[in-house]
Amino acid sequence: MSAEEIKKTEKQVEATRGETTRGMPSFIPPVDVYEDKSSITVVADMPGVNKNGVSIDIKDDQLKILGKVEAPAPHETALRREYETGNYYRQFTIAAELIDLDKITAKMADGVLTLTLPKAEKALPRRIEVTSE
């Protein structure tokens, strides 16, 4: 195959929010963040999460992404474990006033979250009418 070989990266455990009661680890999903003229896009790898398991929260300039995975398959004996299963959590500081919060869109497909944050229209320069008495 001509393409460069993909690098295997360990899942990063997210520990800032403390332990979970379920005893399941929480992971930091790898993300791509890119920007074009009209929007900022956040793409996060969260395998095992379907669209019902994603919650996105913006409050006080904090963008929080939470991805919940379903419980692993029962009635099976594990023979080899190279990756652990757990929820995903990641938090970003954004300038919320520069984003059109009403037009944010999120898409979850094949374990990848694509979050599009359209930029707010720049405040037009205000024209001040001068009235004469």
Partner: protein, 147 residues
């Protein structure tokens, strides 16, 4: 356990060999079970029940057509390519952490499987391969006869 015993004539190579066998016995199985041989994409979890082996791999955001699976009775090969989604040219990156590229991994099975009956599915970024165990590898219930 005494790994080295003093004898009249020590054959150092034989002693070394028995030491290696002892270490392999302790760690070999452990390494297999915990997957210490990490480093090759994708990471795999393997589990079993009475009839099947289940192999799961986290490969988010791939077109299932770009995954190629081949199997023999005692090994499975998973190869493919994860391609980045096309983004416009007028794009500037703030962060770029997601990995793309090709992968090619072979893994030995812990028991014989029936390669003709293997099935694979892809959902929410997780590849699941179901490998039915070969008849001779399935556990047999032994009936205890009473006199």
């Amino acid at each position: 356990m005494a790994l080295l015993q003093w004898r009249e004539s020590i054959d150092p190579f034989r002693e070394l060999d028995s030491l290696r066998t002892a270490v392999d016995r302790v760690f070999g199985d452990y390494r297999w079970r915990t997957g210490m041989s990490r480093g090759i994409f994708p990471a795999l979890n393997i589990s079993e029940n009475k009839d099947n082996l289940y192999l799961r791999a986290e490969i988010p955001g791939i077109n299932p057509k770009d995954i190629d699976i081949t199997a023999t009775p005692d090994s499975i090969t998973i190869r493919g390519e994860r391609r980045p989604a096309g983004v416009g040219k007028e794009v500037n990156y703030h962060q770029r952490e997601r990995e793309f590229g090709s992968f090619n991994r072979i893994i030995g099975m812990p028991c014989q499987v029936n390669p003709d009956k293997i099935s694979a599915s892809y959902k929410d970024g997780i590849l699941t391969v179901v490998l039915p165990k070969a008849e001779q590898a399935k556990p047999k219930q032994i009936e205890i006869k009473t006199a």
